[in-house]
Symmetry: C2
């Protein structure tokens, strides 16, 4: 390698500003580490005149139109920080790769939806299509999977991949406030978007999970196959009862491969308090990886924010500068294997059931009969004394059983006279 | 890249067997991931005829003399798993690098003692000198520092890097048994060596720390500058009192860089229970990294064992196979910066002091006076009721103060009439 590596940033908001800062502040450090100068040559913004809290050098070209970056002959690498699965981000990516430029992005939706096709172009053109910043912010989980643990066949990946949800769940537990309350606060603090559905409905986690699944298991990204539940329906009661029984509730993305079949799910679940992912609180992210030789690895760190995300983008930039970028999904796109997927209906594991019922005799017996009929054995049970006239809450932790038997049991339990609502069902995950 | 990459393993014991297993079991996976075949061509052993619990292919050459591997024209990469800072391992390394062969090792003592000079040869010869397996077993911390977090200036690295010590400390806390008792058990279980001093006296942790310090801070390895305390002197009382006050005791390797001055230390210290490294129990290792942009990252996983260590060796092998190996210490040896070091005598922080004294009036007043004189303010104090005639244990947690003032206070406290032994002093680290 020799000569400078010339960078353009498309979309310079918060994260873009972080990349600009690192490129300038750490310039000599980066040059020592990769043996050449990395130079910011151009940026694009819909509003070039806007006031910003960071300085862009006077020799940097400004474009209104991001797509024009792909035509700029001076540019070696495009860093896309615009966002969105389609539209301008996709167009820019295709155009850049086809023009033989390396393409680095933090855009999980783009990679989740079009990753395979875009990787194909990149491989044909022998350029990088890299997206370390798309998953788990500053945690270099993609590099760890593709390179640091390259000798392993992976059987399970599970992670807290959305800091907003983890913040909300942590606050609900710590302060005893409702979901709506904490969400509002998170929005005021800037941790959650005005429209929080991407985060709290699990879509963002699912985008990230689909990318990790592809890399870990060597299969094409398959976002559509993910079963997704968000955290809107979680009540304080679930969180405090879980806590009392020795669990925390976490929104996890989980991908499992067993006998050649892959199951990808995103749902809030109970994690035993002494397991690694239960210990990760606040806005942090964490990824649990199970590999055939290494065993269990956990990576924890900031999943979002200017510095952390920019740090991940820089990892990709320096890989390009050092000419050590790898196949986008760990193996050539042509080697990604077709695979069978299974849904959550085949899930097997322990469950948490919460049944709200009138405080009357005979209901517990009715529940016990049904569980026995469906071959669900009870690991523990919690029923707290209630004030006269209040509904009773009966919480059951089951031993390992099938999703199907739980579904049947719950349908029957809902029909017991005196049971107030459909029972609440949450899975238990030991990660 | 094209053609096979031919590997030789020098020393095929437990870890070597793991590498042999992965190369054979994961051959097609590895070929997909790096685009070429990685082939085991030769092994060396002092006892080639010994019965082994793994198979070496019949086309693999056996050498009695490890040094002969460096003369074998068929070999591209030597994997050294013999061990020892000098002797055959060092000789083989020099000879291999000088012969233009890539050299991969799990030998922390070798890298800690001769790393700089060996890296120089490797850089001259444009071959890899790689040692991911030398630090924290299966956790790819070297790759994470050099590549995944390449954009960051690092200010602090702290880690549990010796599984034996962490196992002993965890067992002491959980079961209330003495150091000697648990060490004996660890030896019986094969977790600790017959001569445990490398582990329990902190040398092994210091070797690993010296390597991380070099990579993180861009300075030559400087093992000599490390202040080292082991865990032999820890009593059950310290562990249980610490626990009662909300801390766990961990043996940490810590490297800090502040205002261009580096401090490297290895000692058992108190970590608040809700901090990341306090949560790592048993034989696991964990590394805490603080970077200028990413913030705080924690990596946890198995620090030893056949599979985990072999997994790390494979990471280095596939980096070579993919021609993406990097400078051994992150920057060219010529760019490693001279740096000033400070010892533990300049340490500033919170402290744990345990004073054993006769159960008499006036001693606490004496202690309080001395602490006040030395400008040490008390954060909390624990004195439990004792049976008549027993000595009293007074535990003090201080606010942040200097090592110097603690030293002076402790010398004075030891002289108070009725104080039985020199007070026990442990530092507190929030990592």
């Amino acid at each position: 390698m020799s000569g400078n590596l010339n960078i353009a940033i498309a979309g310079i908001g918060t994260v873009g500003g972080g990349v600009v800062k690192i490129l300038s502040e750490a310039a000599s450090l980066l040059e020592k580490r990769c043996g050449r100068k990395v130079v910011l040559k151009a940026v694009s913004s819909r509003d070039c005149g806007k006031a910003r809290d960071f300085k862009v050098g006077s020799d940097v070209k400004w474009y209104d139109d991001a797509l024009a970056l792909a035509d700029d002959k001076d540019i070696d690498v495009i860093v896309e920080l615009i966002g969105g699965a389609d539209g301008i981000a996709l167009e820019l990516c295709e155009k850049s790769l086809n023009a033989g430029k390396h393409f680095i992005t933090a855009n999980k939706a783009l990679v989740a939806k079009h990753g395979k096709r875009l990787a194909e172009i990149a491989e044909q053109k022998k350029v990088a299509f890299a997206f370390e910043a798309a998953v788990a912010g500053g945690i270099p989980v993609i590099k760890v999977l593709k390179e640091g643990l390259v000798g392993n066949d992976f059987s399970r990946i599970a992670g807290i991949m959305n800091g907003t949800c983890n913040y909300i769940l942590t606050e609900m537990k710590e302060t005893g406030r409702s979901f709506a309350d904490v969400l509002k606060e998170a929005q005021d603090l800037g941790y959650a978007e005005a429209d929080p559905s991407f985060d709290v409905d699990g879509i963002d986690t699912a985008h990230k999970l689909s990318i990790l699944t592809s890399i870990a298991f060597g299969v094409p990204v398959n976002f559509e196959a993910i079963y997704i539940e968000g955290i809107r329906e979680l009540s304080l009661l679930d969180i405090s009862d879980a806590h009392e029984l020795g669990y925390k509730i976490k929104l996890l993305g989980i991908a499992v491969k067993r006998d050649g079949v892959i199951k990808q799910s995103v749902y809030p679940c109970l994690v035993p308090v002494d397991y690694p992912l239960a210990k990760v609180d606040g806005v942090n992210n964490a990824i649990f990886i199970e590999g055939s030789y290494v065993g269990k690895i956990v990576l924890e760190g900031p999943g979002a924010g200017r510095g952390a995300t920019a740090s991940a983008v820089l990892s990709d930039i320096i890989d390009v500068a050092s000419n050590r970028f790898t196949y986008p999904f760990g193996v050539p796109v042509g080697s990604l294997e077709k695979c069978n997927y299974t849904g959550v209906e085949k899930h097997k594991g322990e469950y948490y059931l919460r049944i709200t019922a009138l405080d009357e005799a005979g209901i517990l017996a009715g529940i016990s009969d049904i569980l026995r009929d469906e071959e669900i054995s009870v690991e523990s049970l919690l029923q707290k004394p209630v004030k006269k006239g209040d509904n009773a809450n009966i919480v059951v932790i089951t031993h390992s059983c099938t999703e199907n038997s739980v579904k049947k049991a719950v349908t029957r339990i809902a029909k017991i006279k005196g049971v107030v609502n459909a029972p609440k069902v949450l899975r238990i995950e030991s990660v």
